[in-house]
Symmetry: none
DNA sequence: TCGGCCATGAAACATTTGTTGCATGAATTG
DNA sequence: CAATTCATGCAACAAATGTTTCATGGCCGA
């Protein structure tokens, strides 16, 4: 087996975990989940809380290559030390080559996208949410990379409005749905440059049908924004790299869902709880265990 | 003696400092300057580094109102504990009414998510990208809300590696794919609390098969992170609202794709251009015009 | 200068720490 | 089915921990 990145003791732990005895896995998971306590409290203390034998901690440390718990703890402590001001200030290194160039690219990208988020206008989102709240039915359209945004929106909205939300084109050819738009319904179209033909057609159909059109786009001049009742803008090109950024669109989608849920009040809450209960009953999720 | 603002043990220390004996002031300043070491290392250890007597630490603690060094240390430890629940201001704002409440919710959410992005560790992303670059084949798995992240990643990677990238379970039952993982391939699993059973099963299958496992998750303790060669962390709960935030996961996915593309060099560039040319020829996109 | 006070360091204290040897019982192998 | 390995909890161990006591030495007021 190749030697993977040995960046932190926690990653060593994680890697070795599956091949460990049952009990050691248990305490290993506990350590991973409570690494702050692991650095500050005593082994016996942790053992009591984890419901395990103190010796298990020593054995765990040895099993992943340390001389004992003390050494593991020391490693965890160093990994957590705050003075690190960012373990590697990739930015100051400039555009050098080697592995640092990649790291610098990532840092630049993340910072640029973070800077873009607060620039998103909030008011239109709140207004669009109200429109969604009032809509009898909600259609969502997004193609190519925007499909992921569309599906996230679809997923979150369906958690509390299961029967009224639907992605365009999932139950037949797109054109079938385009004819189904009605006044009183809402159609969300997501897109940015270059714009796909389909998304523009959806937007036009929505506008003609008299449905409320909500466009999530990178520009007011985007073709799907024409005639839209609400336009939610984000910056797709704001970050370095080779693909336009979808982070802003995702943030908008999530805010939109959150506010719409909030407007739904107790009824939405009840429906969300029902959905979650159903998922839990189908044992979709791994049961929580500390 | 009047009881001063007991906001944090460090401020108590600072306030009491001037009225302390000379030596205790010295020790007190040392503790204030090295509070991280104070919580993690032993009293004698600190004394040696500070060039002071171990007893001075006990006396300092008692001088500022604690029963002993142990209690002071416990207070420092708690003060330093990473915020277990997101420190978002929105919660305290309660349910304000009027249209402004919704706008405030959106603003809070966007700001919180923006704050979370720079906290994403960049190094692991760069390392994971290299693993993707070396992989003969790339599988991607994400369920429920994480499906959108999986599909975005799938889409972007396929722009320049069309034949080697594939979402788990799209061409038949999941189990068929689980048996197809091979060493030299990479499997990306995306998930956060609550974790779906399927995603965990995919991760385990990947690990067992000897393929490189890359987990995009909200915690090192996430079940799909066990045995993973690379874990890319984001904060799912960092923002107010009712659903966990996917913004971080999307940002990671995009950075991952960007760096992988960058590693691909000229070959990747050529393939991307081919793909774009093909899409343009099929007139997928609306032609640019002023 | 003397006498009391207190800060200070060194050493002894009881406790708690991480560790290890051992016995038990389950799982695996021949 | 027997032999063996191995995981696991318990208990005893030595080392290290935080605390306390005590002797020392400097400081200030009488």
């Amino acid at each position: 087996m190749a030697e993977p990145a040995k960046s932190s003791p926690l990653s060593e732990l994680r890697i070795a975990l599956p091949s460990l005895p049952l009990r050691l896995q248990e305490v290993g998971r506990f350590v991973a989940a409570n690494d702050y306590d692991a650095t500050t409290r005593s082994m016996r203390d942790l053992a009591a809380e984890a419901g395990a034998d103190p010796a298990a901690f020593t054995r765990l440390a040895k099993a992943i290559g340390y001389s004992g718990w003390d050494e593991l703890r020391a490693a965890l402590t160093e990994a957590r030390r705050p003075s690190q001001t960012a373990p590697f200030s990739g930015r100051t290194r400039g555009r050098r080559h080697g592995p640092n160039a990649d790291v610098a690219l990532v840092i630049d990208k993340l910072e640029a996208e973070a800077a873009g988020l607060p620039r998103i206008p909030a008011q239109p989102i709140a207004e669009a949410a109200r429109a969604l709240h009032d809509a009898k039915r909600i259609w969502i359209a997004g193609y190519r990379s925007c499909r992921s945004v569309a599906e996230l929106l679809n997923y979150e909205l369906r958690l509390f409005r299961p029967e009224q939300v639907q992605i365009v084109g999932t139950s037949g050819p797109d054109d079938l749905d385009l004819g189904a738009f009605r006044p009183g319904e809402a159609v969300i179209v997501i897109g940015f440059l270059p714009y796909t033909h389909v998304s523009v057609r959806v937007a036009q159909a929505a506008h003609r049908s008299g449905a409320t059109l909500i466009a999530i786009a990178d520009s007011l001049a985007a073709p799907m924004a024409e005639g839209a009742d609400h336009v939610l803008l984000f910056e797709a090109a704001s970050s370095p790299g080779f693909f336009p950024s979808l982070t802003g669109a995702i943030a908008i989608a999530q805010s939109l869902a959150a506010v719409t849920f909030s407007l739904g009040g107790a009824a939405a809450k009840t429906r969300l709880e029902n959905t979650e209960a159903r998922l839990a009953a189908a044992s979709t999720y791994v049961s929580e265990k500390g």
